[in-house]
Symmetry: C2
């Protein structure tokens, strides 16, 4: 089964309010997570909400990283989506958990772009 | 079981090369999908790859939409992540499938930020 991408959906709990509510800090951690995993950063945007919370996305050559934080709950929803063989999304996840000082994380990897049809066509040639 | 967000992961197949490879067209469709679903658009960034492909993200007050296209395969990986009650991510998905002229789509909704611990605490009060 051939897939174009690997997408890790991570639920990160038990983080410090101050980190999750600091736009510059969240941005720095997310960009560095991409670099740490060996990704090439293309663009990024982050937004601070009132009274609290940060949302942001890092577009990488290999797909994207995204985060939404609920500082009042110590929670962040994080996505790390990579394609190709050069970047392992779990490297970015492990870095994020450490830097956000998470109490615990639950995460799932989903395969994206499963090209079963293409494989069958190739076999039929 | 209380969740903070709804995240639809959509695999969109059978799209036209010309649409999936047109940065401005992809950007327009993604931003309009957010608006069509009643979301508030905060920021967006899109990037065109060589020789083909577009990646981009729309940050909305209610979370984000993301897309990565493989025009040569007629395929796009699309995410629609919303929180709150006011926006239904499937409204955005349906709009996207129509505008990308998709042959077919497979999609899954994942609940994000399941706050079981908080619920239990609330019950124990």
């Amino acid at each position: 089964m051939s897939a174009l991408g690997r997408h890790v959906l991570a639920e990160v709990y038990g983080c410090e309010f101050e980190i999750l509510n600091d736009l510059k800090k969240v941005e720095e951690i997310m960009v560095n997570a991409a670099l740490e995993a060996g990704a090439e950063v293309r663009e990024y945007v982050f937004h601070k909400f009132s009274p609290q919370g940060v949302s942001g996305v890092v577009v990488i050559s290999e797909s994207h990283l995204a985060i939404h934080t609920w500082p009042e709950l110590g929670y962040a929803a994080i996505d790390v989506f990579t394609c190709g063989e050069s970047v392992n999304p779990w490297d970015a996840c492990n870095y994020l958990v450490e830097k956000f000082k998470a109490g615990h994380m639950t995460a799932t990897e989903v395969k994206r772009g499963i090209m079963e049809g293409l494989q069958k066509e190739a076999v039929n040639l």
